[in-house]
């Protein structure tokens, strides 16, 4: 992988970077204005100081006129004051945008995640990409963030170089007079060309060396990825509260210390440190030394010309100041270009994520939505494989839902129950076969409209750390009465009464520190009421009582009639007791629908899976 990365051409680097800039431009065009203006002021300021300083020195070396000196000093002081103030104002503006940038960046990825197909979010590769992108950002702002930094550096360097070029013209134009003797050789255009060529060469080589040196970071970053992951696991996650018991009982602290010691990352024994002491350090040192040769040559040329009488020492100060500044600006520019190229490989990762296609077919048929509409759903020879898997998770499932009836889906762990639900609500599309809603393939309906007819309480449902009312409605503005009646419906009345702020009470403390903590059972009830609030003709419950104790479980069962209330309902559970109040039961085994019927019908088949499952549990209660 690291080898590919080196092969990025300048052209591709440019293309990737331009794409990145377009994204930033869309997010916040003002940031570009702030950076540009502040770079111009910062580029100009030092030269004003150099120029005026040189005039003062000239005056002191020459006429020493008090009035002229007074004026020069006042101009120098005032111009410095004005420029510093302008620069400070612009810097503040820029800092403002910089502060927002971190969140803007995260928002770019957040937006991508909420809009991409579920199958992409559910894919480990996608999560890995995000992790990698975050690591790159942490490592050295690599990726999108570095682009703005590079832009600022390039703007600043360009402005500085242009002004330096203007100020330095007289150095070449002013001639050493005949009185300079041998030094008139400096007037020879060839000499000038040689000097400029030598300086250019150094300017180009020094940053090339340091970029090459920095390239080691990129190279070793790739190599140390694994160690970093191990380290961040043992260095942070291992001490989490959920692990505290196991850590002590299994003495995982010893193991962790061993791992932390072994995978220390960029320590003195790492290969990057060896490179740092060897070739990489050498490159840095060489580049540091070379940058001073540039100044040396400039000094020689300027001073000899002055010695020959081409200009006075005020100009010597000016030219030396300008050349020093020019040299660092050119180096800056070169380094910025180096970063540009190093960054390109990280941008590839960024775009790999941002380019993840949404390739679920999006139909445009509207779904009629009334609670009294009858939705007839049918699975026709549906088979499904998770992306990248060889094994089928579902095989040849055909099943028709009876409108207004309750269906229990049962089976062992891994039998395909949850996958079945994921297909039903189109989180995934079948690999083979089709699912029909009122006789039409569900792919032909508008995607989000179709999804919205299925309120589901997933086994691993999630609430958000906002107010209770918002959680029930899944919206900022909610109908309080309706929310309360939904909460009543699931037996949350008592707990709601205990909450001092009622529906406005925040859940958990992640978002609002004044939020309340709720138990797993309470969360499950809120999730249930969220499904009820949708008022849909369908309701799907995946292990709805897993977090509940017997009494609470029995309470939910008792309320089931009220909760389901004439809707078509699907229950997934491995607590088979829930089958008793369902008219229909579908038994899944190894991805296939193997049995269907009512509880009593299925129990008559003593060879069947249902019989086995039922008795595995019932034996303890009926014997």
């Amino acid at each position: 992988m690291s080898k590919d990365k080196k092969k990025i051409s300048l052209r591709e680097a440019m293309q990737l970077s331009m794409r990145g800039y377009r994204i930033w431009w869309k997010v916040n065009p003002k940031a570009f204005v702030a950076i540009t203006l502040s770079s111009i002021i910062n580029g100009v300021s030092p030269y004003v100081g150099i120029y005026l300083g040189a005039r003062i020195i000239s005056e002191l070396a020459g006429a020493r006129d008090k009035n002229t000196l007074t004026i020069l000093v006042i101009v120098a002081l005032l111009s410095a004051a004005v420029l510093s103030m302008a620069s400070a104002g612009l810097r503040r503006w820029r800092n403002y945008h910089n502060a927002l940038q971190f969140f803007d960046l995260r928002k770019i990825y957040a937006d991508k995640f909420v809009s991409m197909d579920f199958r992409s979010v559910d894919n480990q590769r996608t999560q890995d990409l995000l992790y990698q992108i975050r690591q790159n950002d942490v490592m050295g702002w690599y990726g999108l963030r570095l682009l703005m930094w590079i832009y600022a550096r390039i703007m600043y360097a360009l402005v500085s170089i242009i002004i330096a070029a203007v100020l330095i013209i007289p150095l070449f134009v002013l001639r050493v007079p005949e009185s300079g003797g041998r030094l008139t050789i400096l007037n020879n255009p060839l000499f000038i060309v040689a000097i400029v060529a030598a300086m250019l060469l150094i300017t180009l080589i020094a940053p090339v060396l340091s970029t090459k040196g920095s390239g080691y970071w990129v190279k070793f970053a790739e190599e140390s990825k694994f160690g970093n992951r191990i380290h961040s696991f043992y260095g942070y996650y291992m001490s989490g509260g959920q692990r505290a018991l196991d850590v002590r009982i299994y003495r995982q602290d010893k193991l962790s210390m061993k791992m932390l010691e072994h995978y220390v990352g960029f320590g003195p024994k790492s290969s990057i440190a060896k490179a740092g002491r060897g070739p990489m350090g050498g490159l840095f040192a060489l580049s540091g030394a070379l940058s001073q040769v540039f100044t040396g040559i400039a000094y020689v040329f300027v001073c000899l010309k002055a010695l020959g009488g081409a200009f006075g020492i005020g100009y010597v100060a000016q030219y030396i100041g300008v050349i020093t500044s020019l040299s660092s600006s050119v180096a800056n520019l070169m380094e910025a270009f180096g970063d540009f190229r190093n960054n390109a490989s990280f941008l590839r990762t960024t775009f790999e994520l941002l380019d993840m296609p949404n390739d679920m077919y999006q139909g445009d048929l509207p779904v009629e939505k009334h609670s009294d509409i009858e939705y007839e759903i049918e699975f026709k020879n549906v088979s499904f494989r998770y992306p990248g898997q060889n094994e089928y998770a579902l095989r040849n499932v055909s099943l028709k839902f009876d409108v207004g009836k309750r269906l229990a889906v049962v089976g062992m762990n891994g039998s395909g129950k949850t996958t079945f639900i994921k297909l039903l609500c189109r989180l995934y599309d079948p690999t083979e076969g089709e699912i029909l809603l009122n006789g039409v393939n569900i792919r032909k309906y508008t995607y989000h409209e179709y999804m919205s007819i299925f309120p589901i309480v997933f086994q691993d449902f999630q609430l958000v750390s906002f107010s209770l009312g918002q959680n029930v409605a899944a919206k900022v503005s909610y109908n309080g009465k309706k929310a309360i009646s939904c909460l009543d419906g699931v037996g949350f009345t008592q707990r709601l009464r205990e909450m001092t702020e009622g529906l406005e009470t925040s859940l958990y403390k992640d978002f609002d520190e004044g939020g309340v903590d709720i138990s797993g059972g309470e969360a499950q009830k809120i999730a249930l009421s969220r499904a009820l609030y949708k008022d849909a003709a369908f309701i799907i419950l995946d292990e709805p009582t897993a977090a509940l104790d017997p009494i609470a479980e029995s309470e939910v069962y008792n309320r089931m009639n009220e909760i389901v209330d004439g809707k078509t309902a699907v229950f997934i559970s491995h607590r088979l007791s829930s089958c008793r109040f369902c008219q229909n039961i579908a038994v899944f085994h190894e991805g296939q629908l193997i049995q269907r019927g009512s509880h009593d019908e299925l129990l008559t088949d003593s060879e069947g899976k249902y019989y086995e499952l039922w008795n595995a549990q019932a034996q303890y209660y009926t014997a």
Binding site: I56, I57, L60, A61, V73, A76, S84, M85, A88, Y96, L100, V121, D128, G213, I230, F233, Y234, G235, S239, L245, D246, R248, I249, Q252, D253, L255, M257, L260, E261, F266, G267, G276, G281, F284, A285, C303, L304, L307, I313, V316, A317, I320, K422, L427, Q462, Q470, A474, R530, D549, P550, M560, L576, S577, R580, L613, Q617, A618, Q619, Y621, T622
Partner: protein, 604 residues
């Protein structure tokens, strides 16, 4: 800050230097070398232009001029090369030292007395301790730069003071006054961010929470099904706007600091111009000497500023380090190395006893467990049942030695467990708790809890007892399959039920004399659950075993059942005796079993 910090700036500097001396000596020399190089660069820079200008003014010979330039250039080349080289290499030792300190923090959390984890003070200190190690710019690494800067600026200050001695002392006084004034005003204004850091952290936490939710694959389903995108977006936007205002408010205050800085700089430079130019005009100083002195005044200012900034940085870092040290030195409530050591004897059976045990969580207003008396005989299989929140898990935590009782005592074979080294005591338990903890590593490593010396036969037999053999054999790499996708790209994700079995296999591999299982079938399907019950006696063998569950079916195969209700042991006996008694247990059993019985009226 109300209380005076426990350690001062010098003590904390000493602490870091001692740490470096012990773990990474190579952190120390770059501090001195880089400071020296910094001063060197500055001095060469200060003299280069004036010396050469002076030489030109005096019209020296070409060869002399070239020699001068050559000398300065070579000097600069050497200094720059060394700076780059040392500057690059300083970071490796610093990095490792910071990681060593992180490891110390981790070790402390992992081995500290368990009740300390619940302590708010400890949590706060822990948060702050992390803040000292979680980045290259944090106290434990950045402090070396602070030392370098302080050293450099102090040396520079002294040298320039000697250099400027010939100037009017008024100039030096003025420079000191303007710099100090500017520094303190600036410090105060720029402290706005520090004073409002809680507000800042609040916005960051909220926006990070929302962004994290967006990429969380668990909530992704809910977001899609319930159309939650707009909801999350609305909340994000309103938070973002507040944050924008907050940042703008800060910047509008900081700009006053900039303005004051500009005014003071103009005043200082004005005075410097006046005095030095007067010296040139009246005392016959040359133009190049003007340049030298004027640059020196500017330099002097920045040394003074550098010292002030360095001290205030060191002060902040010292506060951070105090929090770190307080955490690392936080006293333990359990005995560890200072307790009696104890070796589990695998051939022996153990008896456990709770004597008048009451327990109250710190800060709670009533006892979670009240006056519990319970003896678990050698080799006995005990089931603990009760509703959610009844205190089952608390009882287990007391037995395993995670908490000490508020009143009463817990005895192991008649001896109070508080006198033992608590880490030795933990060796006596093979436990499966409700929270799973997979390690990034292979299946085998997860079961054996070790990366080497894994007993293959034992591994296979424990896996079989846990009912996990089939699943592992279906994995393409079997026992060598990686788990933990935060580290391994080829990691396999196990389902909840599979993970639960893996945890059971791990407990069995540990082969400790007391087995504790807390809701071990919560994620299992009926057949797996039943399988587990059937095998229970086989894998517990002659060992003392404690089984916690709210599923009453699970209790049949235990010798004795206790029901926890109302903070105490409400009922006790075998399944049959408890059913016959017709109390709470019988009631709960009735509720659970009603759906399994024939003749239940069908709904509708």
């Amino acid at each position: 800050m109300a209380a005076k910090p426990k350690y001062n700036l010098f003590q904390n500097s000493g602490f870091m230097i001692k740490m470096a001396w012990r773990h990474q000596k190579n952190v120390l020399w770059p501090v001195v070398v880089l400071a020296a190089l910094g001063v060197g660069t500055n001095l060469i820079g200060l003299y280069t232009a004036p010396t050469i200008l002076g030489a030109i003014q005096e019209n020296v010979s070409v060869s002399r001029l070239l020699t001068l330039i050559l000398l300065f250039t070579v000097g600069l080349m050497l200094v720059y090369a060394a700076r780059e080289y040392v500057g690059l290499n300083r970071r490796f030792g610093r990095f490792e030292l910071r990681q060593n300190i992180l490891a110390m923090i981790q070790e402390k959390i992992m081995i500290m007395s368990y009740p300390n984890r619940d302590n708010q003070d400890v949590q706060r200190m822990l948060e702050k301790s992390y803040q000292t190690v979680n980045g290259t710019d944090k106290a434990t690494q950045e402090i070396w730069n602070t030392f370098t800067d302080l050293l450099k600026n102090t040396a520079g200050f002294v040298i320039y003071l000697l250099l400027l001695a010939s100037l009017n002392p008024l100039v030096i006084g003025l420079v000191l006054v303007t710099t100090l004034t500017g520094f303190f005003i600036n410090n105060h204004l720029n402290g706005w961010g520090f004073r409002h850091r809680d507000e800042d952290a609040d916005y960051s936490r909220k926006m990070n929470y929302l962004n994290d939710k967006a990429s969380d694959h668990t909530i992704a389903k809910d977001i899609r099904i319930f159309g939650m995108k707009d909801w999350l977006d609305d909340v994000y936007k309103s938070t973002y706007r507040l944050y924008q205002d907050f940042v703008a408010r800060g910047e509008r205050i900081y700009i006053w600091a900039d303005l004051i800085d500009v005014i003071l700089t103009v005043a200082r430079n004005g005075v410097a111009y006046f005095f030095i130019i007067s010296m040139v005009l009246n005392q016959g100083l040359s133009a190049s000497q003007f340049l030298l002195y004027f640059t020196a005044v500017g330099g002097f200012t920045s040394w003074v500023n550098g010292i002030l900034t360095g001290v205030s940085k060191l002060y902040k870092q010292s506060l951070d380090l105090t929090a770190l040290r307080e955490f690392l030195e936080y006293p333990e409530v359990f005995r560890f190395e200072d307790g009696e050591s104890l070796e589990p004897d695998k051939k022996k059976s153990y008896r456990m006893e709770l004597k008048n045990v009451s327990f109250r969580y710190p800060g709670a207003d009533k006892n979670t467990l009240d006056q519990i008396n319970l003896t678990i005989e050698e080799g006995e299989k005990l089931a603990v049942v009760g509703l959610n929140g009844a205190g089952k898990t608390t009882l287990v935590k007391l037995l395993c030695g995670f908490y000490d009782p508020t009143e009463g005592a817990i005895l192991l074979n008649g001896e109070d467990i508080r006198k033992y080294n608590r880490r030795d005591y933990y060796l006596h338990f093979s436990a499966v708790f409700q929270d799973f903890s997979l390690l990034p590593g292979t299946v085998a490593e997860n079961i054996a809890q070790n990366f080497e010396h894994i007993d293959k036969d034992k591994l296979i037999s424990c896996t079989a007892k846990a009912g996990m053999t089939d699943r592992i054999e279906r994995l393409s790499k079997g026992y060598d399959t990686h788990l933990g996708n935060s580290v391994y790209e080829d990691a396999v994700e196990l389902s909840g039920g599979e993970t639960q079995r893996l945890m059971l296999a791990r407990a069995l591999y540990k082969d400790a004399p007391i087995i504790v299982l807390d809701e071990p079938t919560a994620s299992l399907d009926p057949i797996a659950e039943s399988d587990m019950y059937n095998k229970y006696n086989e894998f517990t063998g002659g060992r003392t075993a404690i089984y916690i569950s709210h599923r009453l079916a699970s209790t049949r195969f235990c010798d004795r059942i206790i029901l926890i209700d109302g903070n105490r042991i409400a009922e006790e006996g075998t399944h049959d005796s408890l059913m016959a008694k017709g109390g709470k247990y019988a009631e709960l059993f009735e509720i659970q079993s009603k759906y399994y019985k024939e003749g239940v009226e069908e709904n509708e």
